[in-house]
Symmetry: C2
Subunit: 622 residues, 2 copies
């Protein structure tokens, strides 16, 4: 019998309480993202402020986390998002997920709110609350250092730390939960929720063994899948050049958003590419716990104004958002920005988008295209900063100001949507449901139009990574700018399959080589679920996808599936996708998508919920 | 009868209490600095931590503040210093002093400590406590803006605000109390004491009239002195080029400390001079309340990485400390650094010295001249920063890190002495009694050796401005590098006279044109002290100077009058003072100084205290 051991940390009282979830819940929601969605919908009251003590943060592993399967070094975080106002969640690699399980618990729930800063350690089931006053205001690197000293665990191969930086402390809606110094559960601003609870960090360590129903079979099945993964060409490319191998590829497709999504190609793409990074700044590859791909970069900049110590990153998304999207074509500057964003605790996708909005606002203000009093206020708040396109030095200073909400930082800390709205130019923010979009222009990769618009957490490429078939040819190649209704099915399939992936919890980078059926024998042997089928797994994924949508419906917003006006109405002016918008594709795909999902206007039908065993939540759609 | 109305703000209880001091106390200590020293010695218990709620901050005006005399726009702050551990005090111009008096009180005492951030308004005697949570973490410019909005007082000509920035909040020992956005009571780190009390700001406004015993005579006497001041050539130079007119002058004397006091001349002096500032970046002159000299600069940098909005500064000291002393020869960068230092709330003299120490430590670490483990820790804490000599971009980032104690900022926030000691190189910090030295090398201006060594608040040029006679020829010209025992008398005279100046409270820049006798008719007519003589005034000054010394004696340290090793032992390698140290001068002057003062080994003799009417404090020296 699989038991999911949950630890509830009541910060209001500095008390811990253990809870064991029955296997029936795990069979329905698996763990990670699915379990988080289920618990959040049950436990977080409707319509509360994300900064209310009633909000909760679920830090969850899944049944495969930390096992010897493959790429099982991740964990998932769930809570009500201060950025989108609907269910927020994010996923991160490194070492934290496995060490959390080894510490004795499969998941931790952060509840209530502390009066004073606090951090918590869990060592072999022993929970301790520590005052964190001396850590409050500190960067992530320093925080980990101090905690490791205090816990007498200097080696970074033993134990792991999750923490927030000043961005989260100061309630920036684009703050990231960080772990292992440079890894981020970045999206949807959940670090600000931890900040509102005065929760600084979580240290985990222990020697709990993960039990498996049939160890031998599990090992054999793992081996098979691992072979598939390691032999796949995309795995190889990721290992060689990291995720930034995509820079040149996506730029060549004219779908590399440039200058705040006003262009699809960047003339300096090569100079910020994974290939260039490998040639100039790479120290080594690195992988998460138990990973064979090793896509993470360890880089440094030796000299000059952008000197950066040996540290992880930058990823494709960070290079794009803080590079092409702000017209910064200097990889050294981007490496430094990435380091600062990590240390201060920002989601780099959201931060880069927000800075691009600021640069656009600044340009508009100077051209007299903002309301006069808004332009004046903007200049006033900018004080000594000139956020011109491509100005990396201004960006560096703005990272500090945003982290500490200094001057204009008080506005940029709110994220792209609120920043653009505040200054009277809402169309400048490229987001879906409040979450800033990542590095693929749906005008050039049209399945991403549907993927973005229907993502349950807002603008995101990880609910369905349509780039996979539209660009990379997995499972087979489609024309990225042709409307093809088969793509709708693929998007839906990915959404469901990826829900499973995020709940198990494993890494999505193995999905280039696997499909959902690969997980059936693994889960049978790991959990003793001998009657599990591929169809059931996909149904679990669909259940999770509906569950998340129900949270948005209950909040009364966030189920409207659309794209920013710029992408729907302004044709790309350059590159292979020149002249295209995302409107036609979205209008073609969306009705079919709703049909496949059993949704009406974005809201699950009661019979859909019944089919998925979600009767208890039917009240939300009635 | 002159009454001094003191307002005591008990932050622990958010309560205000009024107290009227009898004229007898004012006749002994005048106000401002003298009164502060007296109250501090009576009220602050010995040996407490400067961050204890038992410490107090006295914000005091004097009997001439805000009158129509001349240069009466200043106020004085006193408290136990977290930088020196002895009595700290500092003085600032702008509009605050007069508006404090107009608000109904001559002085405010900040006592106790608040649990949560608080700011206070005083409007025509009405005192209100306001929660300051939303202002905590904010810069000075923003803080003033918000408070002015809240107090419905948009015009900067009405009312005034004193506040601290993030530096003070985060207990930086080199934090400045700011007022009128760009004016600083900078020295001795008293802003950190306000930070420890969670006191963010004080708004003052009102229409109280300052009563004068004989208005007509006062006006006539003022006019006479004003004429002297306005016709003096130094007043004129100060108006034309600001205090930075000194850059070229002091550099020409080879006493312009360069590269952390290892040289006496800076090859780029002209490019950071007042003349250059006036030519390139000056918007206008500006003066404090009621001033005829108008020495303050309003400057801006229009474009580029060092863009700075229209704002006050930089002064000579800031240009030197953040320029020549760190080898930064770019005035645009200095203007920006000055702006940031003001907004985040730093003492620029201490900040520049501290950064120069960091640059020296960094150089030593790279050359292998620091203990190995200290060098490693330094590199570690520096993270992505390379504080090379002259690296303005690194300095800009370090200002942020220091304000928020991020990484190395946790060490630089402690000031030069503690930074240098921490990294095993105490000789790198150029300070007296913990206070970083200002911009005159005593090896090239030897009276400053005595002035610095015997300054009661630590390394300071404002207790006795020997530059006046050694360089500027006021009251007559001496040879700056010749030992001349008459200078000892002049230093003592200035110390006593300046104690009066700081207690009245007026601006020291009129002392080029005045002596203590000029104040006798003014005080007679203002206060009705018809029997006041010049001798009595000087005795008051001497009393104050002894009082301050008693505080140090009571603390058991800080009365050792010496200079940093570098200035005593390392001859200047360049310029007109090449080959000289400050040792010979100090050794010649100090015994005579003690003799004149009636001190033994730096400690006032009982008979001296008796002569000065300080019998109540004799217990300290017994």
């Amino acid at each position: 019998m699989f038991e999911y051991r949950l630890l509830r940390l009541d910060l209001s009282e500095w008390k811990a309480r253990e809870e064991v979830l029955p296997e029936s819940i795990i069979r329905k929601y698996l763990g990670g993202r699915g379990l988080g969605a289920y618990l959040a919908l049950k436990e977080i009251p409707p319509h509360i402020s994300p900064f209310s003590p009633e909000n909760k943060i679920y830090i969850l592993t899944g049944p495969l986390t930390g096992t010897a399967a493959f790429e099982t070094g991740r964990y998932h975080v769930v809570g009500k998002s201060p950025l989108t106002g609907i269910l927020g969640d994010s996923n991160s690699g490194g070492q934290f997920g496995p060490w959390l399980r080894f510490s004795g618990y499969d998941g931790v729930v952060i509840e209530g709110a502390s009066d004073e800063p606090v951090w918590v350690s869990i060592v072999d089931g022993e929970v301790e609350f520590h005052p964190a006053k001396r850590l409050w205001g500190k960067g992530v690197v320093h925080t980990e250092k101090v905690i490791r000293r205090e816990m007498k665990t200097p080696s970074e191969h033993v134990g792991s730390i999750l923490s927030i930086g000043p961005a989260g402390e100061n309630l920036s809606r684009i703050a990231a939960i960080m772990n292992d110094k440079y890894r981020a559960a970045g999206r949807t601003g959940l670090a600000a929720v931890l900040g509102s609870k005065k929760f600084k960090a979580l240290f985990v360590k222990g020697s709990r063994k993960i039990e498996l129903a049939d160890k031998e079979r599990f090992r054999a099945e793992s081996k098979k899948v691992m072979k598939k993964i390691s032999e796949h060409s995309i795995s190889e490319a990721l290992g060689k050049y990291g995720t930034a191998v995509l820079v040149n590829i996506i730029n060549a497709h004219g779908a590399f958003p440039t200058k705040n999504w006003t262009r699809g190609t960047f003339e300096k793409a090569f100079e910020i590419s994974g290939e260039y990074l490998a040639e100039k700044y790479l120290v080594s590859n690195k992988g998460c716990w138990g990973c064979i791909i090793q896509c993470s970069r360890v880089a440094k900049v030796d000299k000059g104004p952008y000197r950066t110590p040996v540290s992880e990153g930058p990823e494709y998304e960070s290079i794009w958002s803080m590079g092409a999207n702000t017209l910064i074509g200097n990889l050294e500057a981007i490496i430094k920005l990435n380091y600062l964003a990590n240390d201060l605790g920002f989601d780099t996708i959201s931060l880069g988008n927000t800075m691009a909005v600021l640069m656009e606002l600044y340009e508009k203000a100077r051209k007299g295209e903002l309301p006069k009093e808004k332009a004046e206020e903007l200049f006033n708040l900018l004080e000594d900063i000139e956020p011109e396109w491509g100005n990396a030095d201004a960006f560096i200073q703005l990272v500090w100001r945003t982290a500490y909400r200094h001057g204009i930082g008080d506005k940029t800390a709110e994220g792209a949507m609120r920043l653009a709205e505040y200054f009277g130019s809402p169309e400048s923010a490229i987001h879906v449901k409040g979450l800033e979009l990542p590095a693929y222009d749906p005008r050039g990769i049209n399945s991403m139009a549907l993927s973005y618009a229907t993502s349950n957490r807002g603008g995101c490429h990880l609910r369905a990574y349509a780039v996979s078939f539209d660009v990379l040819g997995v499972p087979e190649k489609y024309d990225p700018v042709k409307i093809d209704m088969r793509k709708v099915e693929l998007v839906k399939y990915q959404q469901d399959y990826f829900s499973v992936i995020d709940s198990l919890v494993v890494c999505k980078f193995n999905t280039f080589a696997t499909d959902h059926n690969d997980y059936v024998p693994l889960l049978q042997s790991a959990l003793g679920w001998d009657d599990l089928t591929g169809d059931e797994l996909l149904t679990i994924g669909e259940r999770i996808y509906n569950l998340e949508r129900l949270f948005a419906v209950r909040e009364g917003h966030g189920y409207q599936d659309t794209l920013p006006k710029r992408l729907l109405e302004e044709p790309l002016p350059d590159g292979p996708a020149k002249g295209l918008t995302a409107k036609e594709a979205l209008e073609a795909y969306l009705p079919r998508f709703y049909e496949l999902r059993g949704w009406e206007n974005g809201i699950p039908k009661p019979e859909t919920l019944k089919r998925l065993g979600l009767e208890e939540f039917e009240y939300i759609v009635r």
